[in-house]
């Protein structure tokens, strides 16, 4: 617990440093923040353009897809803001600068995660929440306190699942170094996948993101329960309430992978 507190404090200090550095160039910060907002909004713009031609996509109406999109985008945005820098670890392994972090009396994970903390990534969270808000006001749902709690849960436990993916991806980079882009398949690729309902995809793909890389627990399973839509693969309904448990399990596994990766690290020497 003391290590966790130290880690959070280190994270805060480094993130603050990068925020102050970013604000030195205010014009560039404003432009990149707007660019981040616009770029991440394009995914929903695509969906809107699709719905200028159709009324339903794979059996889902626009507000229903907006719920899926909003939950996934907000969850991914939170993870990207807080842990997105993990995908740069491969470069540090290759050029030896990881050694600098290792000699400091601070948790390496906190240092890597906070490195180049980018406030502009708030753009993705902002537009995700806007789409989520649109979905909630346009959908006709028989609300219960449990369903409302699930809507709040989706971005939070989903963010933890994506964050665990970022950490696992970083652990992979201890081995793969130059192959950092593989993890984009699961992080950015996963985010793109979850913007659409499971009825869009082949059964094998749905099975893969449910049982292998549990992305389905980010938004598919809770949202389909809220919407009253049928579950894929004949899954039981009670899985709708398990995302927090899955998130905790993902954290444990990612943490173990990270410690294993760090333990096997050998410097390139200098």
């Amino acid at each position: 617990m003391r290590t966790l507190r130290t880690g959070l404090r280190v994270y805060g200090l480094i993130a603050t440093m990068w925020m102050r550095s970013t604000m030195t160039y205010r014009a560039s910060f404003a432009m990149t923040a707007l660019a981040n907002l616009a770029a991440t909004s394009f995914d929903f713009a695509v969906i809107l353009l699709m719905f200028t031609h159709v009324d339903t996509l794979a059996g889902y109406r626009l507000p229903e897809i907006a719920l899926l999109y909003g939950a996934a985008a907000t969850a991914f945005g939170l993870a990207d803001l807080t842990m997105g820098s993990m995908d740069r670890l491969g470069r540090r392994v290759r050029d030896g600068t990881l050694d600098t972090l290792l000699v400091r009396p601070a948790p390496v994970l906190a240092q890597v995660a906070a490195d180049r903390f980018a406030l502009r990534r708030l753009g993705r969270i902002t537009q995700g929440l806007l789409v989520l808000g649109y979905a909630l006001v346009t959908l006709d749902i028989a609300w219960t306190p449990l369903k409302a709690a699930m809507v709040a849960m989706m971005p939070l436990s989903g963010a933890v699942i994506f964050a665990a993916l970022f950490v696992a991806g970083a652990a992979f980079q201890f081995i793969a170094q130059d192959a950092a882009e593989v993890q984009n398949s699961f992080t950015y690729g996963g985010n793109t996948l979850l913007q659409y309902p499971p009825t869009v995809f082949a059964k094998d793909l749905v099975r893969g993101v449910t049982f292998v890389v549990p992305l389905a627990f980010v938004n598919w399973l809770p949202a389909l329960h809220v919407l009253g839509q049928p579950y894929p693969l004949d899954l039981p309904r009670w899985l709708a309430f398990t995302p927090p448990l899955v998130a905790a399990l993902c954290c444990a596994l990612a943490g173990a992978a990270w410690r294993a990766g760090l333990r096997t690290y050998r410097s390139t020497g200098s």
């Binding site: 560039s28 990149t32 660019a35 713009a45 996509l57 793969a176 882009e181 398949s185 793909l205």
Partner: protein, 266 residues
Amino acid sequence: MRLYAAVAAGSFRRYATYRVATAAGVFTNTVFGFILAHTYMALWDERPRLGGYDLSQAVTYVWLCQALLMTCAMMGGGFEDELVERIRTGDIAIDLHRPADLQLWWLAGDLGRAAFHLLGRGAVPLLLGALAFDLALPASPLPWLAFLVSVALGITVGFALRYLAALSAFWLMDGAGVLHFTWLAGMFFSGMLLPLTLFPGALGELARMLPWSSLLQIPVDVLLGKRTGWALVHAYAFQLGWAATLLGAGRLLQSAATRRVVVQGG
């Protein structure tokens, strides 16, 4: 001319060196190809022949997009980060002293990079897509040749756009903001997100007139046989026109920038 050929060859070899990174990129492009192919199939199941494409052509569009994404550097990944950094640190002074034209130097380098990305990162995802889906790829070599010419022109247009954006660093110092907006336009107006024929009304007309359609929409339509005869000539003229205009603008901006440059530090 030999100088620029050497720069292009060196650039090809430089990017070819990172084999593991290339394999990782191929993997990711392939995964995205599978995800997006399914979303397109869902859309075309609802509306067959949407945008003038049948289902097979629509899925082919997705895989060609993955093949050309890095080639035309629609989301960045070309020379521009490096050029901006050289301007910011002042190393650009070294480049300006060389007996070589700055714009042609970077163009040669970008063409070399694009050639590698087309072969090394574009071909494999397209092949895997063809194995997994029923793609509408031409059997005879002539459409492929016409396609490659169009891709080369698209790469040049893409370079010219990013070169203009990179030169803004002479004034702004931190060119990241302008580059990000260039990448945004590249994503939206190239047809990378959806075919431009699906953009409704005036937005669609605007998108098809802007230079970014040269990067993806036009080459894909050439390969799918939607631009033949005079339509093909018109497509090439469109791409050449934008390339000439933007390269010319780049040259003007380059002159203004080099007159203005005050190298920092030393």
